[in-house]
């Protein structure tokens, strides 16, 4: 029979694929060879463009080729400029002449707009190419970068179109972080209102909430849209309440998906920005010197202006020496003419704090702000937090070992009243060490932080403050975070086990420093 159907065997198919592969490799090498030669010869022409297209369409991740294309585009643009310069702008007389014949006039106007249009067409061509490449690999760093480079070069870039493109790509894959990143860039350029962006983001979360990128996108939009006046929460309390509600719904729908829980932690946090300036944590002053602790590491304290105001004088503190490697605690060995009767205040850049005099007959003054300050919260928000906590507790009845629920209920308790719920939240952490033993160290560290936060918050009420700091021997502590806060004390008493563990790396005290100097 003629032309009878016969199916290729897998063996034959494999053989054929192999040959095809070899052919592709050969043509790739040949094309790359040609491109190199042309580049050496400085031939940045149309042939170069078409050669690179062939390869980029199959593999959009060859950075060199994108660089060559950029060179080609720049070359073409500079040629256009030259052309433009040599092109004679028609004088009025000439225009008059040309008006007589309509045809010629058309030609003239055509010529006039040509260079700009030409440039635009180069850019469009590059944009089309990146679009095709992104279909091949939607996560190609090179293609995304080339796209933004082209848009920046093009004075007629259509940013609105880019936003639509992002919509389209995010419909295909709502979790592509490249697209989200690019989206932030183009929405800013296209001046898309933040509220509209937030709606878009909400829609994407509705489709699939297991999406770190869209939660992150939210966290960038919300503080600007719903600012918090007190600056102790990431956004206004009304909005925060709604966000908490939404994120807990996601977390309860699928507790194993971590993206929602992470967002919730951000919501329950203070909204502090990573790049914010350090704040004064503790300060103590005597006639012969001073110590300063910052709430976060800041290795280059000289960039911050530190001034002591009091006794009708302003002293610039500028000879700071580090007390630890991180740059959280510092000493200054300047001499001050300390006046017991005057009140002093300390400036750190734009932060100003009032110092309290040392008790008794001692000369000197101090300042102390515990790491976990008491944050106030509105009735409505408090009610929401309590509802959420109740939901978590309900859930724990069904699933006592649910890791994220245990952690979240501890966080919620702390957000409601961190000192009253301190013991209970530690119990949750102890349980977490068992049910999620792979992250044992993390929970121990968290427990240590919470314990210190609690101890430090209570410290100002203790009799020996600020000269002695005590942690009862029965308190379980694996490490000593917030050590820099203790720099204003003369004597520190720690649980014996922790003391043993720390060995020589005990935090420095004010008394130590006096002795040393």
């Amino acid at each position: 029979m003629h032309g009878r159907v016969k199916v290729r065997t897998t063996e034959e198919e494999r053989e054929r694929k192999k040959k095809e592969q070899a052919l592709k490799v050969r043509s790739y090498r040949a094309a790359m060879g040609r491109i190199q030669k042309k580049r050496e010869a400085g031939e940045l022409d149309n042939e170069m463009l078409s050669l690179t297209v062939q390869i980029l369409l199959r593999n959009p991740d060859v950075s060199t080729l994108w660089n060559i294309r950029r060179e080609c585009v720049l070359e073409k643009l500079s040629k256009l400029k030259e052309e433009e310069a040599t092109y004679e702008t028609p004088t009025d007389e000439k225009l008059e002449e040309e008006k007589q014949t309509g045809e010629e006039k058309d030609k003239a106007s055509e010529k006039k707009t040509l260079p700009e249009d030409k440039a635009h067409s180069y850019f469009t061509c590059e944009l089309d190419l990146t679009e095709q490449c992104l279909m091949v690999n939607p996560k190609s760093y090179n293609a995304w970068h080339h796209r933004s480079w082209i848009l920046e070069k093009n004075p007629r870039a259509d940013w609105q179109r880019e936003v639509h493109l992002c919509n389209k790509y995010l419909k295909f894959d709502e979790r592509n972080f490249h697209t989200w990143d690019y989206r932030r860039y183009v929405t800013e350029k296209a001046m898309v209102p933040a509220a509209q962006e937030l709606d878009f983001c909400t829609d994407k979360i509705k489709v699939n909430f297991s999406n770190y990128s869209s939660w992150h996108h939210r966290s960038l939009l919300l503080p600007g849209l719903y600012p918090n006046q007190q600056r102790d929460r990431p956004m206004s309390e009304e909005k925060l309440q709604k966000e908490l509600e939404m994120v807990l719904t996601a977390a309860f729908t699928d507790p194993n998906d971590s993206s929602a829980w992470f967002y919730q932690r951000w919501l329950l946090g203070s909204g502090a920005q990573l790049d914010r300036a350090p704040r004064i944590a503790a300060f103590r002053l005597e006639s012969h010197g001073a110590v300063l602790a910052l709430d976060k590491p800041y290795p280059d304290i000289k960039q911050l202006r530190t001034e002591l105001v009091g006794g009708e004088k302003t002293v610039l503190l500028n000879s700071w020496l580090p007390l630890d490697k991180l740059g959280t605690s510092w000493k200054c060995q300047q001499n001050f003419d300390y006046q017991r009767n005057s009140s002093y205040s300390l400036w750190l850049s734009d932060q100003i704090v009032n110092l309290s005099p040392m008790s008794g007959s001692e000369n000197g003054a101090h300042y102390f702000a515990p790491p976990h300050g008491t944050t106030t919260c509105s009735k409505d928000l408090l009610a929401e937090l309590q509802t959420q906590l109740q939901s978590c507790l309900d859930l724990l009845e069904f699933e006592p070992d649910s890791k994220w629920t245990l952690l979240t209920s501890a966080l919620l308790m702390r957000a409601i009243d961190f000192s009253a719920n301190h013991e209970t939240s530690l119990t949750n952490l102890a349980k977490l060490e068992k049910v999620d033993s792979l992250r044992q160290g993390y929970y121990k560290d968290l427990a240590a932080r919470w314990t210190l936060e609690s101890e430090l918050a209570r410290w100002p009420q203790s009799a020996g403050f600020p000269k002695t700091f005590d942690i009862a021997d029965k308190v379980l502590l694996e490490s000593l975070p917030y050590g820099q806060y203790l720099v204003i004390a003369d004597e520190i008493t720690l649980p014996s086990k922790l003391r043993e563990k720390l060995g020589d790396s005990l935090p420095k005290t004010f008394a130590d420093l006096k002795r040393l100097s």
Binding site: M1, H2, G3, R4, V5, K6, V7, R8, T9, E11, E12, E13, E15, R16, K19, E20, L23, K24, R26, S27, A30, A31, G33, R34, K37, Q54, L57, K206, V207, N208, F209, S210, L248, T249, A250, F252, T253, D254, P255, S391, D394, L395, F398, E399
Partner: protein
């Protein structure tokens, strides 16, 4: 009728319904010579879809004693021409004017996205002949209202009808069902073996609302369904989630009548011969050759095997039919349920209905114009229930009263009919394989099992519908099958190959 049909076949299939077409395709695919006949002038038999005109004409036809479609009645609920106000209103004339835009199924079905049929279509590569639309909502009746059942994770997240703890319970319950039967099987569930699914559900401390979601729409159970059966049904539902669209279901574009035709097409590609409008008058067994002699249109055909749809050949052989499925088919100018269920002009919605006692059930499938089965602005409601009597309207009354009496659905056309099934086999039919009539089921599982079973008996050694190759995998005789044909390369690669050869010469590169 002059024809040059061959006279000898491995298999003659009578009737182009779903099951018959499936067998015909399978036989043809493994190289058997197949003749496929149908006395109707259309494909699909009772599995077919009709235009509006054709359906009415079919309903008007006199019912033959052996005809499996019967008790058909239809009514137009509008006056012939009625135009008041600015809004165009639908009436008989305007609907009939768009007759060809309809695909009205006698046996509508919904496919599980990972169900038997979908798997078969993919495995056999028949899927390239068909298109589908994902079902938009799976619904249930709750407190007299039609509500959407949250099926996917994002549905559960977005629904406002469940509290967050309920959401957790529902998700947890579904996850437990999904894991059931695997090694990590929950020990608590073992004690429910032999008890009912409802008992298990109640033991999970789920709320009433979750319980109805699961019983009515997800597991599609009744109060007496066993634990194992309920688990299996739930797993079937869950296993089909997340494949296409938001629900676990698909509906064939342009109606279910497309599906038998897809199989016929594969049969024809492998050499099967088709004759519509070709009744078979008599079948006899030639005891010498052990072959069947079929007389059709004055011609005698010889076949080693015969497969027939129920009701063929004529009933004179003593075949009796009894009612099997009661059907209602309605056309409305408004969809069922609220706005939320019909966003963007409505889609395909599936609703399983129960009578007040929970003893009888029916499926309602709502189709919008997105399925290509009706014109824009109109909706088809297909109602299907197992038959109790020869009166489909009374069989369905309990469901229609729930659905239409309290709603403001604007019904324009309503019709009722019965699909009948053979009650006993004729004596002469012993060697003929009769396919089963359409079973009352959502998907095609029973029909496929039936086709597979008959095919296995006919050709015990052969593979049932192995994958059909794509055109580019086929080699023509005399070709070296492992050769790389330059013409089969993509165009730009071919151009590049030429460039490359040129470059190699110019640059004097050795391979």
């Amino acid at each position: 009728m002059s024809d040059d049909l061959p006279e000898q076949f491995d298999l003659v299939v009578i009737g182009t319904g779903f099951t018959e077409s499936c067998i015909a395709a399978a036989a043809s695919r493994v190289g058997k010579s197949v003749l496929h006949l149908d006395s109707n002038e259309y494909y699909g038999d009772v599995w077919s879809s009709f235009s509006m005109d054709a359906l009415c004409a079919r309903f008007d036809q006199k019912t033959e004693p052996h005809s499996s479609l019967r008790n058909a009645k239809y009514t137009w609920h509008t006056t012939e021409s009625e135009s008041e106000g600015d809004a165009p209103t639908w009436n008989r004339d305007s609907v009939l004017a768009k007759s060809r835009r309809f695909s009205l199924d006698l046996c509508p079905r919904i496919l599980y996205a990972a169900g038997e049929l979908v798997q078969l279509l993919i495995k056999s590569n028949i899927c390239r002949y068909a298109e589908f639309r994902a079902v938009d909502h799976v619904c249930m009746r709750h407190n007299g209202e039609i509500v959407s059942v949250p099926c996917s994770r994002s549905d559960v997240f977005n629904t406002k009808t469940l509290t967050i703890v309920e959401k957790r319970l529902l998700m947890k319950f579904l996850t437990a069902c999904n894991d059931y039967g695997e090694d990590k099987c929950n020990e608590d569930s073992l004690e429910f073996r032999g008890r009912t699914f409802l008992e298990y559900l109640q033991a999970q401390r789920v709320t009433e609302k979750i319980s109805s979601c699961v019983m009515q729409a997800i597991a599609m159970c009744g109060p007496t369904t066993s634990f194992e059966e309920g688990m299996q049904r739930t797993q079937r539902f869950l296993g089909s989630l997340g494949r296409y669209g938001n629900t676990p279901f698909l509906f064939p574009m342009y109606g279910c009548g497309e599906l038998p035709q897809c199989f016929c097409r594969l049969c024809a590609v492998y050499g099967g011969i088709y004759c519509l409008k070709r009744p078979v008058d008599d079948i006899a067994l030639d005891s010498n050759s052990n072959e069947f002699l079929l007389s059709s249109a004055g011609k005698t055909l010889r076949a080693k095997n015969v497969v027939s749809a129920p009701g063929y050949p004529p009933v004179s052989k003593g075949i009796e039919l009894k009612p099997h499925i009661s059907r209602g088919l309605f056309i409305s100018s408004s969809p069922l349920g609220n706005e939320e269920l019909n966003k963007g002009g409505g889609g395909v919605n599936l609703l399983r209905l129960l009578d007040d006692a929970g003893a009888r059930e029916a499926f309602l499938i709502q189709l919008s114009h997105y399925t290509g089965a009706c014109p824009e602005g109109l909706y088809i409601f297909h109602l299907t229930t197992p038959a109790l009597s020869e009166d489909p309207a009374s069989d369905l009354a309990v469901f229609t009263s729930h659905l239409f009496d309290q709603s403001d659905a604007q019904i324009i056309f309503s019709s009722y009919f019965t699909i009948a099934a053979q009650s006993s086999k004729s004596p002469a039919a012993e060697h003929i394989y009769y396919t089963d009539p359409p079973t009352y089921e959502l998907d095609y599982d029973a029909a496929i099992a039936n086709a597979r079973d008959i095919f296995g008996k006919l050709f015990p050694e052969a593979d049932f519908l192995p994958r059909a190759p794509d055109p580019e995998e086929i080699v023509v005789d005399g070709e070296d099958p492992s050769a790389l044909n330059e013409h089969s390369l993509p165009e730009d690669l071919r151009a590049q190959l030429h460039d490359m050869q040129q470059a190699t010469q110019e640059m004097d590169i050795q391979d």
